[in-house]
């Protein structure tokens, strides 16, 4: 989990302007990290680039926490 997690964390810290320590597996993008709907769209685009995969809008809507993103990437990349 560590490599994917670190790369996700770096992108989240940069895009949402939050502290690294806040980006825990349980952290919710909207409730804990202050992301609005457009932030999430942008984040998904960035993750698609970083991991060279496509995340459908349907899947993106189901992902609400950092841990869920990491799991998704690990099972799809």
């Amino acid at each position: 989990m560590s490599d994917v997690y670190d790369r996700v964390k770096r992108i989240v810290v940069e895009r949402l302007g939050v502290e690294e320590a806040e980006v825990t597996a349980e952290a919710s993008f909207k409730d804990d990290l202050g992301a609005d709907s457009l932030d999430v769209v942008e984040l998904v685009m960035e993750l698609e680039d970083e991991f060279d995969l496509e995340i459908s809008d349907e899947d993106a809507e189901k992902i609400t926490t950092v841990g869920e993103v990491v799991n998704y990437i690990q099972s799809h990349a």
């Binding site: 302007g17 457009l38 769209v41 942008e42 685009m45």
Partner: protein, 413 residues
């Protein structure tokens, strides 16, 4: 009942200074804020100079990274100047002002050109699925007004003027009217612009509208001089806090000056060429709106962009409006020092107007070495002048034939 309207706060972000005292001192000293463009390589451009703000850091103006990265540079400038003006005014929304009675009009002539340019490049290189979801909200020209309301909590009237180089003056004039008729107690108003980008520079270069005096940037903007060869683009923001006199008095605010008149007109003539009649009608309407005689105007802060045609047209308009009095009043173009901030020009020039009235000093037109013989007014050449002026006017004219004039008076209780 018409409310009296006064200026109680001001903020500027310019290449000549990003606080009011520094900005004013540089103007009185006749300094130029124009230099070689550093933002990108200008080798292929006919104009390589601008009034560019170097090393702008939004955090120094109270805008944290998280917020400012979702702002185009023009919004960052507008937000920075607005926060500065609000702090200067002492207005605290929710404490000494009703948030629903405080509005915002911080306009832009062009909007988020830099954001446009970046995202268009991404579209071409990576395709539509990589265009940022923030592209549209960052780029639209009304977003400075929107972001300022979010930053300050101002819930009153909120709109935007987009009238090219007249934007700042329309924003301030429209705000003046809103307070005068009772729609708001206070307005955060002015203009913001950030167009020193490859596509912006290229567009104006193609128009042959800008000075190409690239080897002498500080001498490039020379309104009313025989050797003027076009305007010099600037960037930044100028914002005023306008407030009803009773609201300002109730909280013991400092008053810089009183706004007494606003006029506007359309040329109905040409996309870019000015018609002197339009400018003259704008000034005449402002004078009528103020309920004063033309002879009471003692100083004009000219639009004066340093283009061969524009300076001549404005001079003719001043003569039409004022007749013989045109030769008795002082006219200066501070764009000789600040460059032309396009939609923000009226913002910084209203700041200058208020300071001239409060301090009894008129900033000069610099680089006026050989006055164009056809232009025979008193343009306050090269040296600031002490003058206890009581009433003064500022002009702004924009592509499309939009003209706007604001009149201020030294504050007298």
């Amino acid at each position: 009942m018409k409310h009296r309207v006064v200026v109680t706060g001001m903020g500027v972000v310019t290449s000549l200074g990003s606080d009011i005292p520094a900005f004013w001192n540089n103007l009185l000293a006749g300094k130029s804020g124009i230099s070689r463009i550093e933002a990108f390589d200008t080798s292929d451009y006919t104009t390589k100079i601008a009034a560019e703000i170097k090393n702008f850091n939004p955090e120094q103006f109270g805008l944290d990274k998280k917020i400012s990265r979702k702002m185009d540079r023009f919004v960052q400038f507008g937000a920075a100047a607005s926060l500065m003006a609000l702090q200067d005014s002492g207005l605290k929304l929710g404490e000494n002002a009703d948030p629903e009675r405080v509005g915002v009009i911080v306009g832009s002539g062009i909007g988020g050109l830099g954001t446009w340019e970046e995202q268009h490049t991404i579209l071409m290189e990576k395709g539509p699925r990589r265009v940022s979801p923030f592209f549209i909200p960052m780029m639209i020209a009304n977003m400075a007004s929107g972001q300022v309301s979010m930053l300050t909590g101002a819930k009153g009237p909120n709109t935007t003027a987009v009238t090219a180089c007249a934007t700042g003056t329309h924003s301030i004039g429209d705000s003046f009217k809103m307070i005068q008729r009772g729609d708001a107690d206070a307005m955060i108003c002015g203009g913001a612009e950030a167009t020193i980008r490859p596509i912006g520079l290229a567009g104006f270069c193609s128009m042959r509208a800008m000075s190409t005096r690239n080897d002498e940037p500080e001498k490039a903007s020379r309104p009313f001089d025989i050797d003027r060869d076009g305007f010099v683009m600037g960037e930044g923001s100028g914002v005023l806090i306008l407030e009803s006199l009773e609201h300002a008095q109730k909280r013991g605010a400092h008053i810089y000056a009183e706004v007494i008149g606003y006029g506007m007109s359309g040329d109905a003539y040409d996309m870019v060429e000015p018609d002197p009649d339009g400018a003259a009608r704008s000034m005449a309407r402002a004078i009528k709106d103020a309920g004063i005689a033309p002879e009471e105007i003692e100083y004009i802060n000219a639009h004066g962009t340093s283009t061969p045609v524009g300076d001549k047209s404005e001079t003719m308009a001043i003569k039409t409006t004022f007749g013989g009095h045109a030769y008795k009043l002082a006219v200066s173009s501070t764009k000789s020092m600040t460059g032309h901030l396009l939609g923000a020009a009226g913002g910084i020039e209203s700041v200058i107007l208020a300071l001239s009235l409060q301090n009894g000093e008129i900033p000069p037109t610099i680089n006026l070495d050989n006055q164009d013989p056809e232009l025979d007014l008193d343009y306050v050449p090269n040296k600031a002048r002490k003058a206890g002026i009581r009433t003064a006017l500022s002009n702004s004219f924009g592509f499309g034939g939009h003209n706007a004039t604001i009149i201020m008076r030294k504050y007298e209780a």
